[in-house]
Symmetry: C2
Subunit: 229 residues, 2 copies
DNA sequence: CTCCGTTTCATACACTTGTTTGAAACGCCC
DNA sequence: GGGCGTTTCAAACAAGTGTATGAAACGGAG
């Protein structure tokens, strides 16, 4: 009866209209943002009644929270799985940096390219979640990322001896920014305005090649010898 | 009489309430986004009447456009000035990569730290401008960036022999993403949720140190030898 | 079939949004 | 000071927003 419970609030989880709402909301949230998508558009696209969203999820914020959770969970799970796999493969030795970055980056890229079911990347809204959403969403997202950050920080610190924790903190923010922004460009490659100003156009790289480019860039940035004052 | 003219539409530019609206709008847009800030909040914060914004700027979109223009102009101007200065200093030789990045990054960082007049960085909204705003704003922003991109692309290509244009295109998107995201974190360093999950806390770096960290990271990433398949 | 909890529906409510309107106040030049 | 273009103001408008309500439809258990 605790109304602050986030998962499985009032309804029994699996339900046709419920998941239909979640799917439509995820697609529309990714395209126009949470505040930018009216509930009516969600219900229209999902083919359900307007009141359904207020019945299954108590409010729009709760809906957004569950969309975030449903999208973030599998991705972070995959990240951890890939990292542990790489650690097992490396034995006791430090995991190669490129392997770590692959585990961090690839799940969200793969999800972007019409992955397991929801075709549009919702991960792009994660970065914006701290600005647009209320403190509830922000806290949930950051809590969801807590373990990820800790595990990957440790792995990277082992892979790059001499890198301080403070320097890593900033370089991780650089890395995450690179990931989100370039993913946005990659996802809407054909129609992105900033690309049309270049004279020459190049074919859109596929998922693997894009990830490789990003990993190469990030690995070099992470390994850079810090400027000592 | 051309109503599609963007700069100096109906009013004679300088006017007390007009600039008050622009200032308040810039501050609020940066904090809550364009769609997230009602006109009433702008006029209230500016201490002017509600109808003033529709009188001086015809519509809210026009207001946003002028806010973008007023913020983007000086920053890009500074960028070009710094780059030309570095080129003059280098004679005919290629400008050192770090100098180029400094010219690209420093103006927006400096603007962020309570610069010339408007204290809050509006530059953060630039990246989002393609998602939230209509095609008018997107086209304006991308046109505004056209020269910047071309000039800096050329300079970087000269500084890093062997780097292909296609690879540079992607690495620039990585760099811009790093800049925007880390700037967001840096600006709200004390209260950012993602930072509170780390055990240890470090003092917020000052403007110079933050820029140096980013430049070190980006320079290494740009210089990375591309993975050849 | 009947009953009852669950789900769906049409409709309405209260509120906020951007924009418009017409009158009042202001600042000048003659 | 009178007249007039420019600017400000209070009030209202129409449209869209999230949410609440109560009745109708559904679907098994008795």
């Amino acid at each position: 009866m605790n109304s602050t419970d986030l998962t499985a609030d009032a309804a029994n989880a699996s339900c046709a209209t419920r998941t239909a709402i979640l799917d439509a909301a995820e697609r529309l949230f990714a395209k126009h943002g949470v505040d930018g998508t009216p509930i009516r558009q969600i219900t229209h696209e999902a083919g359900v009644n307007l009141a359904a969203v207020n019945y299954h999820f108590r409010t729009k914020a709760h809906l957004a929270l569950e969309v975030y959770a449903r999208c973030l969970g599998p991705i972070n799970q995959q990240r951890l799985t890939l990292l542990e796999e790489a650690e097992r493969e490396a034995g006791g030795a430090p995991v190669p940096l490129e392997k770590i970055l692959e585990a961090l980056i690839y799940p969200v890229v793969r999800d972007r390219v019409s992955g397991n079911g929801h075709e549009i990347a919702f991960i792009l809204l994660m970065g914006r979640s701290f600005q647009e959403q209320g403190p509830e969403v922000s806290r949930f997202v950051s809590r969801e990322f807590a373990e990820i950050v800790k595990r990957f920080d440790d792995a990277i610190l082992r892979a790059i001896p001499g890198l301080t924790q403070e320097e890593l903190l900033w370089r991780m923010s650089f890395l995450i920014g690179s990931l989100h922004h370039s993913l946005d460009i990659w996802g809407r490659y054909e129609s992105h305005p900033i690309l049309s100003i270049r004279d020459a156009r190049y074919p859109k790289p596929d998922c693997k090649e894009y990830a490789r480019r990003l990993i190469t860039f990030a690995a070099a940035g992470l390994r850079a010898t810090p400027f000592l004052p």
